[in-house]
Symmetry: C2
DNA sequence: CTGTTAGCGCGTTCAA
DNA sequence: TTGAACGCGCTAACAG
């Protein structure tokens, strides 16, 4: 148990402030020549144009197509825009140009470092081209997935990237009808909707089975997470099962917060399978917590029981012994997916919409 | 060193597919009575209205203000909308109503669990009220902060929540002019822009100093991160310094990837300060890696050197010995900030725009 | 190189 | 309870 010491300053009282939006209309007459924006309204392009003495469309071009305007007017317009603190309204430009310059990203959760790495890599590729990412999280639930995709489409995203596949038929239909490029990331599928970048979790499961068997293990407890609906998890298990045919494999289901592992599951393993010589966790953080739980029970890792997991993060090296894991190239997956989506968005041909980026087994102390 | 074993399946070749957007216009005549949407164009509200035999505005009301429409027409319109797979265009509705139903969230990074927890809590409060969160990350850089806020404003977010304060005067000016509710989260400030929910990192530093001194430590190495611009970090240091006046405190600067800690910094501490009896890290993950580094060098924690950090996560319990940290109520901060922002968005009065949610010292094995 | 016209899809503001 | 007109802010398409 943690020894907790609680601190809190007294509440400080701040003045209540109101953010009144949409004050009185800007006077639309051409009367005012002032360079200062109206206090309550953000300046529009027409204000910039009026003050700079050009038409609205010319002002627009100075910002979006600078090369199609004379250097002189461009300088003048940009100066006025700067002075007014003009910020283009992306909603308006998206409406008329049918390009929102936003890409929707659907993740189960961002609490898992695997997904945050994926998102950051994807965003890094897209941002230089002016695309923003719009995040939606599903909590591993297929019904929420539908809502999230729908909402993203309502915001007129130009493309959608999903970690995992679009699970429900409903969602797949939505995406097909939406007529936007789609990238399914992380796992490889036989029937991708469009772009598909990742690796075979089934192969990963098989590889880990071979790896452990080669090290003399043959009585496996395989921990799955029962409360999440994740095909990647079951693929790993299937691959493991299909490969370790001569070994004894027992599945155990955890139902704690996704990613972690209840200590009781470890107890269940030890009592139901006293001669277990390896624990394999479908989740990464679950494997880390398994090591801690075994340590707490005084069981030698890996001497008595080996532990391995899928997915890698710095935490693998924090536990003792360090965790052997199947490491996924999440950053590369994000980058590659972003590149393929950009190609689609530019209308370029793609000769290979599916890419296998493989995986690595990081052999560490726990095996 | 890790022993790495690399696997990759052969690339599988998928057919190239094109997502052609904006095909030929929907036939605007009233001729077609078909209930099936045109293959290439997403149905608009006017399509729903036409097929249901009502005006556009009535169709609109069936979706946004169901109670202002007769039950019969509502049922009819909703049925048609469902059949067509109609998805409202949020961009259009945002334009005309000046409410985008989106809240911008500015974080240094989502790789740090502290921030992902904050985001998830915030989103959970806002979503039931129809608000989406639009994420922007700054990488702890003030110049990027300005760009991110500007972009969010360009997307007409209805409110903005920032982890930390708006650092640059430029950004603060932008936010003040934007006339939207703003929440500065995590740290408490004397001059918040508007809503401010968090705790005093200065107090947290002071409390940790008192805590360690009470346990007999008095020669401190305080690790700061030199490549990030984070006032929370320096506040902790200031508070520590101001409290441990009788102790010896030496600052050490790390320049690795934010969050982690280079092993060389630990070596530097040991050589420059051989009698050090406690290492305090401004970052959470840095403290975890410090424990690992000391372990690798065969130094007893906490017997010889104690270690403590700011910010908590499951990883604190994964290292051995478990890490003593100052734990922040990030989830509560997100929840409270969301509630206050909702009040502002509804135009309700707020009698206390600043809230101190305190912190806890989690005493574990490392001290 | 610059301007005019038209309209993106929807909700507000009126009137019926 | 329903509808007509209008405009949100901006850019595509054409004209000058």
């Amino acid at each position: 148990m943690d020894n907790v010491i609680h601190y809190s300053m007294k509440h400080r009282f701040g003045a209540a402030r109101h953010g009144a939006r949409n004050g009185p209309e800007l006077d639309a007459t051409l009367a005012g020549g002032d360079l200062v924006a109206d206090g309550l309204n953000t300046p529009k392009l027409r204000d910039v144009a009026r003050i700079a003495g050009v038409s609205v469309i010319t002002a627009s071009r100075c910002i979006s197509n600078p090369e199609r305007v004379s250097e002189k007017t461009r300088a003048k317009v940009l100066k006025v825009a700067e002075e007014l603190g003009y910020i283009p309204n992306r909603l308006a430009s998206a409406m008329v140009s049918s390009r929102s310059m936003a890409v929707g990203v659907v993740l189960p959760t961002i609490a898992n470092p695997i997904h945050s790495v994926l998102l950051e890599a994807l965003a890094e590729v897209l941002e230089p081209f002016g695309y923003r990412t719009l995040l939606g999280t599903t909590g591993y639930r297929a019904d929420k997935e539908y809502d999230v995709v729908r909402t993203l489409l309502a915001h007129k995203v130009d493309a959608i990237a999903l970690a995992g596949k679009a699970q429900s038929a409903q969602t797949r239909k939505l995406l097909a009808a939406a007529n936007v490029p789609v990238a399914e990331m992380f796992e490889l599928y036989d029937d991708p909707l469009d772009i598909n970048v990742g690796l075979s979790n089934r192969e990963a499961g098989a590889a880990l089975a071979r790896f452990l068997i080669a090290r003399g293990r043959h009585r496996f407890a395989f921990v799955l997470h029962s409360e999440i609906d994740d095909s990647r998890m079951t693929s790993r298990y299937d691959g493991f099962l299909a490969t370790a045919t001569d070994a004894r494999i027992e599945p155990f289901h955890d139902s704690s917060k996704p990613g972690l592992l209840r200590e009781s599951v470890v107890s269940a393993i030890l009592s139901r399978m006293p001669d277990v010589d390896a624990i394999v966790c479908s989740g990464h953080q679950a494997a880390v917590t398994a090591i801690c739980a075994l340590r707490n029970q005084g069981i030698a890792v890996p001497a008595q029981i080996a532990v391995a997991g899928f997915g890698d993060s710095p935490a693998s090296q924090w536990v003792q012994p360090a965790l052997t894991t199947v490491s996924y190239p999440m950053s590369d997956i994000g980058t590659k997916s972003g590149q393929l989506l950009l190609a689609r968005l530019r209308g370029e041909a793609i000769d290979n919409a599916q890419a296998d980026l493989g995986f690595q087994i990081m052999e560490r102390g726990s095996t």
